[in-house]
Symmetry: C2
Subunit: 329 residues, 2 copies
Amino acid sequence: MVTIRDVAKKSGVSVATVSRVLNETGYVHEDTRKKVMAAVEELKYSPNEVARSLFKKKSKLIGLLLPDITNPFFPQLARGVEDEMQREGYRLLFGNSDENAEKEMDYLNTFIQNNVVGIISATNNKTKTNYKDLSIPVVFLDRTSNDYPSVYADGKEGGRIAADEILKRGSKRITLLKGPAHIQPAQDRFQGALEVLSQSSVDFHVMTTTSFAFEDAEKWAKELFATYPDTDGVLASNDIVATAVLHEALRLGKSIPEDLQIIGFDDIPQSSLLFPPLSTIRQPAYEMGKEAAQLLVKIMNKEKIEQQHIQMPVTFIDRNTTRKVDTNG
Amino acid sequence: MVTIRDVAKKSGVSVATVSRVLNETGYVHEDTRKKVMAAVEELKYSPNEVARSLFKKKSKLIGLLLPDITNPFFPQLARGVEDEMQREGYRLLFGNSDENAEKEMDYLNTFIQNNVVGIISATNNKTKTNYKDLSIPVVFLDRTSNDYPSVYADGKEGGRIAADEILKRGSKRITLLKGPAHIQPAQDRFQGALEVLSQSSVDFHVMTTTSFAFEDAEKWAKELFATYPDTDGVLASNDIVATAVLHEALRLGKSIPEDLQIIGFDDIPQSSLLFPPLSTIRQPAYEMGKEAAQLLVKIMNKEKIEQQHIQMPVTFIDRNTTRKVDTNG
DNA sequence: AAACTATATGTAACCGTTTACACATATAAA
DNA sequence: TTTATATGTGTAAACGGTTACATATAGTTT
């Protein structure tokens, strides 16, 4: 390994001077700068980030904690974060928490132990873990918080829109799927939809689901049609659940969207590829990741923050699990 | 920040002793061990990995480089790697290369600068980047290599199986999609399929595609049916391309699998959710990630390696874009 | 009793950086 | 000419751990 001392020796100056040219701090004569740079080139020296991090008590690392990268909503988020952080010269320490408090704490600890300078967390686990005594900035992603900066989509509005749209398109016996209780965004969506539905004159049922895994979703889909066979509209808590409902409905021979309308939530990439393509409420996942990264960078740079909480807009994506509505009507 | 010195002071011993109890090295009296542990508890001390890493010249970090986490094949791989590494006490430094040599080198550099102890790389970029003068173990994932340990699926066999199955099911005018030239696994699949097809008595065309992005795939799908309108069987280079072909075929009013059979490659999670569900050649992505992690850990521990190159089996997933074949026939 | 060995602990050097401080020279202001 | 200021560079002390080495005591062998 080639160290700063090797560079110093080769260029005939002290390590302090080498450090100064590398970091562009303090005075250094143009001639020495050139000598040093030449030595750097020749030896292919690049500074040891670990040593740097130890002294400065800060690294170029940021911690990214997701529930599960395997859930199709998260790769987009992650990519948004990564692209932005990469642009800013930061690298990602990455972990999946599975919404498990112990795993979460574990990762948080190792983030700290590795001197990360900031954390982006998209977890929602029930026993709310302690982010309090973290001495570094945290921004929550896909999750609201009063105490911390956060970036999230307007779930409540999304719920309202979904309910509005399905109502506008004529569903009369709606089943509203309520996602896992500890996932705040799922509850927001539910509340928004509930608000609209309860002010309308249509019948509706609420059914609670407790995970977003596709296998579980399939079971609930079966249960849904067993319990409420005359449902003609489903507001799903996310696209995965919507997909399961869609499949089960097709299996039962229902015509979609004629017999049954379905609206999902998230607009994960595969939703447009389903048959029929899924109507859904879109969250701008990539942009959310990017936004979170930008917010964190600003906080780390101690810039003035106008908005601690960034709420991203949500849009209805009108595909084929909902009927067309007469725009003149 | 609480340091080892604070613990030493509180427990009335030297830092060396504290270090010894923490690392369970050297002799330490049971009574002092207890005193130290009590102080550790009380101060909530946990060692600074950066300092440790600096002295030992090795961290508990490993670098994971993927082409693009947003491509649905990779989250599974990543999760397999993560689960296994987490189990072994390693953390992941993560980056997307976009198959771009510069980005790749960039990440590789920062991996090294951060003292990672091993690297798992799933990149395939054309200007083969230099992994030679890396002083730490590398394992390639989803990529073959003579010089480095690697874990990959048997692409050639996969290609053969796909061709066999589509032939067995009666396609007579087959279009074989050849994936990007620099992606070795895609070439292997192509070669395998080509081998079988060229020994058969059916007509076939080869069409070259140059990326795996869905938007591009849609264009090729259109081009495919424009150029070879009577194609009755498509062997796609992966499930994304297969999905695009499927969509275009449906749009053109073809019945699937009656008019056209399609076989994909990878078995990404959404393939089973398409309509009709996609027949494909499955790569065990999660297991591949796991396997790669295990291999890397073994190498890092300098254990005897029986197999430098782990070829994972590939299986035909018989869903609904292929016809049923009479098992008695 | 002398010589070993095992157990237990502390001192200080080291890992590769950054930076406070000291020192030297050149230039400008008095 | 003296004094102040800007420029340029080096020495050495950190940062928070680990570990080689020294030292001390207790128990075992001869």
